[in-house]
Symmetry: C2
Subunit: 284 residues, 2 copies
């Protein structure tokens, strides 16, 4: 997804919020805002929003000296999600369509996002999303693609959401490689977070090799690029990964909740909609 004009004030908002979470004083946050503000003129609109996020969060790490400001928050949300896991597992097991229910739960986990929003209630949001209408619903294509696949490449998004991903992975019935961020960025899932979420018991864990808060293929490691280029089916979780991957003709299925009106507009859905979208159908 290109950077829309509406993303630009949002970059400043994110800078401010992340600066505060990193415990920076006002003078240092002002310095960050100065840098991000000055960078806007050099920002090619063709670049995706997480490419700018990569710059912003890199700057924050540099100025703050704090490598993982969301460390405690991530632990809390992973633990909260783990507490919900047994009941959600039962929900999956008792449902008519286990795969679809697990998909809904995996999307519900996507509300745990400190980049776009910071207000959510996991258990309430799960209940809503279990019954919510899909804005885009390429479920048949997903089932078909999954059936024919030898293995699944699963692109993680946020910590906590990762526990919900486990539930979906357990329903896929195929070997899964789960991709995590190479370094901590916002509350995105890293190798350690994936292990804390119990994902090492259900999937092979691989780093993207990139510091960006999303999969932007040409910033990723050669190892990731090989996996990506040869994947039978790719499950991409969340807004950031959509922003980094939309427009690429690969068998990607985007699972997300559209949390801002810009991304919703790009997808052709309403803000708040849940989405299971095939990139191939979507790109026409």
């Amino acid at each position: 997804m290109k950077t829309y004009l509406d993303c630009i004030p949002c970059f400043m908002e994110q800078t401010l919020r992340a600066g505060r979470v990193s415990g920076l004083d006002d003078a240092k946050i002002k310095k960050l805002l100065d840098e991000v503000g000055g960078m806007i003129k050099d920002l090619p609109v063709e670049s995706s929003p997480p490419a700018t996020g990569d710059f912003i969060y890199g700057k924050i790490r540099e100025v703050s000296g704090v490598a993982d400001p969301y460390k405690e928050i991530k632990k809390e949300t992973i633990n909260e999600a783990i507490t919900l896991y047994p009941e959600l597992k039962k929900t999956v097991e008792q449902s008519e369509d286990r795969l679809l229910t697990a998909i809904r739960i995996a999307i519900a986990g996507n509300v745990i996002d400190f980049g776009v929003n910071h207000k959510f209630n996991i258990s309430e949001d799960v209940q809503t999303i279990l019954n919510q209408h899909f804005g885009i619903f390429h479920y048949k294509e997903f089932q078909e693609s999954l059936k024919n696949a030898e293995s699944v490449l699963y692109l993680g998004d946020n910590s906590g959401e990762s526990v919900f991903d486990k539930l979906l992975i357990e329903e896929l019935g195929k070997p899964v490689t789960y991709v995590v961020r190479d370094v901590p960025v916002i509350n995105d899932v890293t190798m350690q977070d994936a292990i804390d979420s119990g994902l090492d018991t259900v999937a092979k864990l691989v780093s993207s090799g990139s510091s960006a808060p999303a999969i932007i293929p040409d910033r990723c490691s050669r190892e990731f690029q090989d996996l990506f280029n040869n994947a039978d089916i790719i499950i991409s979780k969340g807004q950031g990964n959509y922003e980094g991957l939309s427009g690429i003709n690969k068998p990607i299925f985007f699972l997300l909740k559209a949390k801002c009106h810009v991304l919703a507009g790009d997808l052709g859905v309403e803000k708040g909609d849940i989405v299971l979208a095939s990139s191939i159908i979507h790109n026409g």
Copy 2:
């Protein structure tokens, strides 16, 4: 009021919104965002937000060549307010405390603001504000100050709101000088807007002599400064004027609705609160 860090993303939001209202294409709006972004590093936090607004809206005029992008919107809101006037006049006349009811209505008019917000419903908001609790209520001091004043200096804010100001001016019982913006900026009230609102029949109209979207005294004309320095009582409408005037020890009464959490925090009230605040009491 100083510029808070939270104001900085808001400046970018305002730039984007005003650029669109001015009918600029995306490339030109991007150019504006580049300039405003680059200006942040030179922004002294001691300067008030409308001082930055002055820069932003000046840039927009320069880039767009459109002197008054809100011209049509202003006309519509003035006409809508004029339609409501007879009923509101009756409300004032039938109320137990005419002055207070007129103050409430004048504050209700303050929701007509395209700078901070862009969603409001005048007649609904009036009904709410007629019954709303005040976050700050220096009414006794206002009555006392008004009683002892020979005349009133009234600092206008938005077009449309200006019609509601007329209702309050009619209840003051003193000669009033009504101050308008020198040039069109956002939907702020100019000389022509004040005349269209019927204010010339109840007050002497004077320009601030400044292009800022608020009264920032040292940017105003000598004529305004003389009026301001010698005023017995000053009624200051809206957020912008508060931002430009807070901290100044003059007999100013701020009438406004706190429309953003930054200003609400500065005043020590909740967002959404209505306020009748004496600057002298407030400055302690």
